[in-house]
Every structure is written in C-alpha cells, then in structure tokens.
C-alpha cells in the first residue's frame, strides 16, 4: 500500500527515520539522499520529520527546508498518493502529451497542479524525463512510464482509482526500450569485465594519463574539455583526498544516451571511473544519477556489488595493494542545473544545487574542496576504450580535433528515434537519412542550450570544429512551428533557473512572459526588440551557463525563422500584455454595471 497523505509522523515513522539517518552516519552531507528516501516513504517531507532530522543531523531546520524546496521531486506539502508528472519536453508535446494530460485530469476529476480533494492523486508536468525516443512519457511516484496513449492513460486512471499498488501494475508499462539503431566503437565493444583495468594496471597511472592525452579524447558532456588534461591536473592537485565523479544527471532535454549506457554498458562506465581513480589517485567515486532514472538504481547497485565480488572494486583491486576504490550512487531529485559540474558537487554534498564560482575549478577544489575529476558517463566509457585500444588507434577515428565516436540521441519527427553511434565528423544530413526523417525543417543539436540548425545548413558536421554536442538531436519537420519550439525551451529554462543570480532568475521569467505575450497574440515589434535586449543581459551577466544559453533557442530561431515570430505580432508599435476590457469582466459581473465607464479600449 502506498503511504497515505494522512500518514502521521508517528513513533514508527520516527524509528524508521532514526534508522535511516544512522545508516547515513548522521552525516549532513547525505541530506539530499536522506530527503529522497523520506519522500519515497512518506510521499512528502512531513514537518515533524524535519524537526527530528534537524536534531539528528545537528543542522538548522531552515537548511533542510531550503534544500527540500530546491528540488522538484521533493515536496514539503502533502501531495497525492499517486504523484503523476507528465514529461513536458517539446518532443512529448509533439506526440500529444497535452491531450493525454487533459484526459487524465478529466478521468480523475482534478486540475493540473492540484491535489485531488480525496488526496488520491496529483497531476503536473516536469522537464524532459529522458524518454524522448519512446514518449510521451510520465513519472508516477518517480517511476517512468513510456509510450503513453489514450488507452494507456485510461488504464492508469483506472489503476489509480482502484488504489492498485504500483508493484501490481502491468510490468509492460514500465518497460524502457534501449532503441539502439546504430552501433560502433562503444556500443559494439566486446570487452570482458576488468580487461581495461588489467591493461591499465600493467601500464601504470602516468601511462593512463599519457594515453588519454595522446588519444585526443574530449569530454562528451558538451563542453569538450580535454579529458587527459583534466585527469593530469587533478592528479597533480594537492589535497587530502581525491575524488572521481561520474555526471549522470542527464537533464538536457532530448538527451537519453547516458540512460542507455547505464543500462547496457554499466560495467564499462564503472571501469572508466576506476581507471580514472587509478590515474588521479582517488579512493572514492560517485555516480550522480538523475532522479528520473531512479529505476536504474537497483540494477546499477547490483553491478557494483558484482564488481566488488570480482575484486574490480574495493580494496587492493586486482590484487594491487594500495589500489583501493569504491563507488557510491547518489540520486538527484529533479534539478537540471545539477548537470553543471559545480552545482552537481554542491548537490553531492547535500546542498542546494547552486553553481559555484569558478575558478577554482573542481580539479583542485571539488567535492569537499578536494581535487575532483568530474566527467560525463560517455567520457568514462570512451576513456576506457582509448586506453584499451591505444592512443594512435583511437585517434584514427573521428576528425583531427574530435577523436573517437559520439552517441547521438535522436528524437522528434523521424521514423526511427533512438541511439546512434557515429565517428565524429558525421553530417546532420547523414543522420537525418539514417533515422528516416523526411521534410525536415530544422534540427535542434545538443538540446535547448545548443544550436538550432535550419535545412540550409544540414551539411554541417558534428564535432568540436563546428557543432559540438552533448548528444541531443531533435528533429522538426515542416509541420512544426519553430516559435513554439523556442517557447517550450524558454519555459524550460525559466523553470530550471536555480534562482541564485538575478539576471537569470528574473531574465528567464521575463523572456518566458514575453514569448507568452507573443503567443497570445499581444506581441509587437517592440517585444521582439525586448527579447533581444533580454538575451544580451542574460548572456553577459548570468552567473553560469544556464542563463548564458537560455536565450539561444530564441536567438537561433529568430535568426532562421523570424517570420514564425512576425506572423504572430500585431502591427502596433506597442500593445498591452493582456486584454484590458476583459480584465474588467469580473468586476462588471460583481457590480452589475455595463456603462461606458465599465469598459476599456486598448489604446486611447
């Protein structure tokens, strides 16, 4: 049975909480992990439990509430027993998620964003859940359900109404496909567990770094920092401990390659992390897994345990004394910003995911202010491959400045969405052909913070020379309105801004309001100018990359698809943001007036 909303934080709850905190050594840096488990048990974070937790961890209540209120998947107020969150990426929208959301709301008699009166269910939207190749998708109490249809929504509503425990729901609902459409170096590798580590141990730490440097490997999270250089700096940095962190907070809408890697290549990911630990001299590693991939936690833990049992993790790995390393999995709780490495580290330390000032960079002052190598899931896999193959062979793949292969997450208007692996240097046109896309108007490369590429530029190639990418590849055909695509992305950034710096917190909201004003038919040329002014403020004064890239979708679509904006404008120089006369309607109704003074013209 699911936890009831009326669950009192009673003696058994308290005993459970005490056990939980003891398991986390009453360590305040575990706060986020503790809160996640409380959320799972109670359905929200009960007020009484916060007081108890504050006592146990020796921190003020305010700190707990500030952390709990930061993350989307943690709730300080009771939610429905069944908490339904529809993924609201543009790809979900294109597959009709809004109609499905309305349908479910009607079936269960409630409004989006509200809890039903009997406390049974709440329905809302959330940012992209990483299921774009099998959407529309949703999360119920943190579990992903894909391939929604009217039929499936009806079945879900029925199960909820009957209060069927989720463990009894059809297993097929929770099936997440891998949809690997094109393999390569990484996806087709046949390495045995531990094979890379044997090679690496024989060569030694310095040799690993030399090989990774010589391979030309660059980070696969999008920024493309040379991996060997990062590991070398981390190794050289002074500190009492060194750490390895794998960034699996794959939050960029349209990206889902890490999900597939962690499903199909978990050993290679952990092998890459262990390799990195050997190179930088780390004893502890963390995998930061986004909350949306909660269902991967148990399988991944099983893989870790198998590796410990095979002496591929733990003490004296592969019999080499002094080579001790283990990996802990931390779960996120629905915050895109935690994909930024310094925000991720803050979150790992149990705090709000607010990006740090950089420099100092994590390689010198990372987790617990100690030298930390933070890399993307795919980067660790590629590093393992590079070490196994040797630098020259690895470098021969791809292009001069972008060696190796890249996983591309293809979604949107195409026949075969899924994961495609290509050597760097592949053109947009080639990918479009392979995925069966026709009449394509534009491709959004690397997600909302990336680049919108119009048809005239489909000859451009993926790689650090031209189009760097974290892997998202969203296809829009000629039936799509690129203004609506940009508006969806702008809403995403406004929702995901961490709120720390004013330009981003306020700027992304103003951008959202202006885009909505245009969408509602109230826009003018003035508003387009305002959008451009806002973009400038965001780009020049935001604290981190989120604010700096938040305007990219608008800038790019304005550049290539300006008429999509202009045809929504009124021809006036300026028009109010809302219907003036309409906003007197309620007062007219309440007062029974309908005289001239009870009406307003838009301009005078």
């Amino acid at each position: 049975m699911l936890p009831d909303n009326d669950t009192q934080f009673d003696a058994s709850g308290q005993a459970w909480l005490d056990q939980l905190t003891a398991r986390h050594r009453n360590d305040a840096s575990r706060l986020l992990q503790i809160l996640r488990e409380m959320q799972e048990r109670f359905g929200h974070i009960p007020q009484d439990a916060i007081s108890r937790l504050a006592e146990r961890l020796g921190i003020p209540r305010a700190r707990i509430e500030s952390v709990a209120s930061f993350y989307s998947f943690l709730h300080l107020k009771p939610q429905g027993e069944y908490r339904v969150l529809f993924s609201d990426n543009i790809t979900d929208r294109m597959l009709g998620n809004q109609a499905l959301l309305e349908q479910m709301c009607q079936l269960l008699w409630l409004q989006p964003g509200k809890v039903s009166e009997d406390g049974l269910v709440s329905i809302n939207t959330t940012s992209c859940t990483g299921m774009c190749d099998q959407g529309p998708a949703l999360l119920i109490n943190g579990r992903a359900i894909t391939r929604l249809s009217h039929q499936r929504v009806q079945e879900i509503a029925q199960l909820i109404r009957n209060r069927t425990p989720m463990s009894d729901w059809p297993a097929d609902f929770f099936h997440v496909g891998d949809n690997i459409r094109r393999g390569g170096l990484l996806l087709d590798n046949k390495l045995a567990y531990g094979e890379v580590l044997h090679t690496a141990l024989a060569a030694g730490a310095q040799s690993i770094i030399d090989t990774v440097k010589a391979s030309g490997l660059r980070g696969r999270g999008g920024a493309g920092f040379p991996t060997g250089l990062k590991w070398e700096s981390c190794r050289k940095a002074q500190g009492s401990d060194h750490y390895v962190v794998c960034n699996a907070d794959e939050g960029e809408p349209g990206t889902f390659k890490d999900r597939v890697l962690l499903t199909r290549q978990a050993d290679l990911v952990f092998e890459g992390m262990t390799l990195c630990a050997l190179a930088v001299g780390a004893k502890q590693g963390f995998l930061y897994l986004r909350g949306e991939y909660r269902y991967l936690l148990e399988p991944l833990r099983a893989v870790l345990q198998r590796r410990r049992d095979s002496n591929l993790l733990g003490e004296s790995i592969l019999g080499k004394s002094g080579f001790d390393f283990d990996i802990d999995i931390h779960l996120g709780a629905g915050a895109y910003i935690c994909g930024e490495e310094s925000a991720l580290i803050e979150s790992l330390e149990g705090k709000r995911g607010v990006p740090r000032n950089r420099p100092p960079f994590p390689v010198t002052h990372g987790y617990m202010q100690q030298p930390t190598a933070v890399d993307n899931v795919e980067t660790f896999c590629q590093a393992a491959l590079a070490v196994q193959m040797g630098a020259d062979k690895y470098r021969a793949i791809g292009t001069e400045k972008s060696s190796g292969s890249k996983l591309i997450s293809v979604s949107g208007d195409c026949a075969y969405p899924g994961i495609y692996e290509y050597p760097f240097g592949v053109s947009i046109r080639e990918i479009l052909q392979d995925c069966g896309a026709v009449n394509t108007r534009a491709v959004q490369v690397s997600g909302p913070s990336g680049v919108c590429v119009p048809e005239s530029e489909f000859g451009r190639k993926l790689g650090f020379e031209d189009l760097p990418t974290a892997g998202a590849f969203m296809v829009f055909d000629d039936s799509r309105d690129l203004f609506e695509v940009a508006r969806n992305f702008v809403h995403f950034f406004a929702h995901e801004s961490c709120g720390f710096c004013t330009p981003c917190r306020v700027g992304t909201s103003m951008l959202k309001q202006t885009m909505d004003k245009i969408a509602n038919g109230h826009g003018t040329q003035y508003d387009l100018n305002e959008v451009e002014n806002l973009d400038r403020v965001l780009q020049t004064s935001s604290h981190c990359g989120l604010g700096r890239t938040a305007c990219n979708p608008v800038l790019h679509t304005l550049k290539h698809f300006r008429p999509a904006y202009e045809n929504k404008l009124k021809s006036l120089m300026f028009s109010p943001a809302f219907d003036l006369d309409g906003s007197l309607a309620r007062a007219r109704q309440m007062t029974g007036r309908d005289d001239a003074g009870a009406h307003l013209k838009e301009t005078e």
Binding site: F574, A577, S583, A587, T591, R593, G597, A598, L600, E604
Partner: protein, 179 residues
C-alpha cells in the same frame, strides 16, 4: 537659456512614497525648477496632462481609471518613466493577484459587517478594478525604470539631471539598493 522642459507626475496604485522621496531632493528642488516646469502633478493640482517632455509615474495599474491616466500620460509625454517597485512590478497592491477579484469584493463588502450596507458599490463614478494588478510596462511602452521602494531622493535627482542633460541616466554605486 533654452526652453524649460515640461514634467508631469502622478501616482496610480501607489502610496505616494515615491513622490515623498522625490521631495527628498530638498533644496535641489529649486535648482530643478530652473530647468523644468511642472504640468499635471500633486505639486500643483493640474487635473489633466498636456504635452510634456517627461512623465513620471509611480504605482501599478489596478483599475480602469489607472488605465485612462496611463494612456493620457503615454499620449502626451515624450519620455515615460516608471518609478518604484509598484510601477515596475506591481508591488504591494499586486499581492491580491493570487486571489479572485470576486471573492475579494465579496469578503470586503458582503461578508465583513459595516461596509456599503451589504452591496458591492456599483456607482459609475467609481472606476472598476482590474482582475489583476499590472506593472506599467504591461499596458503601455515605458522608456525608463527607476527601481527602489522608494528610490532615494539622490537616485531620483541623479536620474533626472542626467536625463535633462541629455545623458543616458546611470544609477551608480549606492544609488540602487537590493534589500
């Protein structure tokens, strides 16, 4: 000496705090009067605004009359300035925005005893309230914003003297406060 600039000011859904702050320029008001003359403003009680160079408005837009006044200012002023938190964001009056207007009116005039003899006033003399309180820039184009609650007299003085001198106004260190 060149012609004096004409300045109009008014308060919409505001508390006149920004106007009080304006008076905090103290004896500099005399220097200002060498440069400008006042059109509609609480200083002189002129009821309607004529053609002006600068219009300064405090307060947000909460009712139909506010809309008329704002339109009058926009039509007559070459440069229109929103001054203070309410004009820029809606401020305190906008706290009613999360309530339904109907339930506000019911609460005040029907539920609570002692007001309006149990009916919601419907005299055409009274401006109808909008369902939400809006910042000025959602109703007309605004050229400049002076933030603050209220902005200090020094900030207002700096802003106006810059503007009158034909410079892009800049509120430097200490003239904008964030708390």
């Amino acid at each position: 000496m060149s012609k004096k600039l004409r300045v109009a000011t008014t308060s919409l859904a505001g508390c006149f705090g920004c106007h009080m702050s304006f008076l905090d320029i103290d004896e500099r008001l005399l220097a200002l009067l060498d440069l400008v003359e006042f059109d509609r403003s609480p200083i002189n009680d002129i009821k309607h605004c004529g053609p002006c160079d600068i219009g300064i408005i405090e307060g947000g837009v909460c009712n139909a009359e506010n809309v008329h006044v704002l339109h009058e200012f926009r039509k007559n002023c070459k440069i229109l300035i929103a001054i203070g938190a309410c004009a820029i964001n809606g401020g305190l009056p906008a706290q009613r925005n999360h309530l339904d207007l109907g339930s506000c009116l019911t609460e005040v005039y029907l539920t609570e005893p002692g007001l309006a003899h149990g009916h919601i006033p419907n005299d055409p003399e009274l401006p109808l309230p909008l369902d939400k309180v809006h910042p000025l820039h959602e109703v007309v184009k605004i050229d400049y914003f002076i933030p603050g609650c209220p902005p200090s007299g020094d900030a207002i003085w700096k802003f106006l003297t810059d503007l009158i001198a034909g410079k892009t106004p800049e509120l430097g260190h200490g003239l904008i406060k964030y708390d």
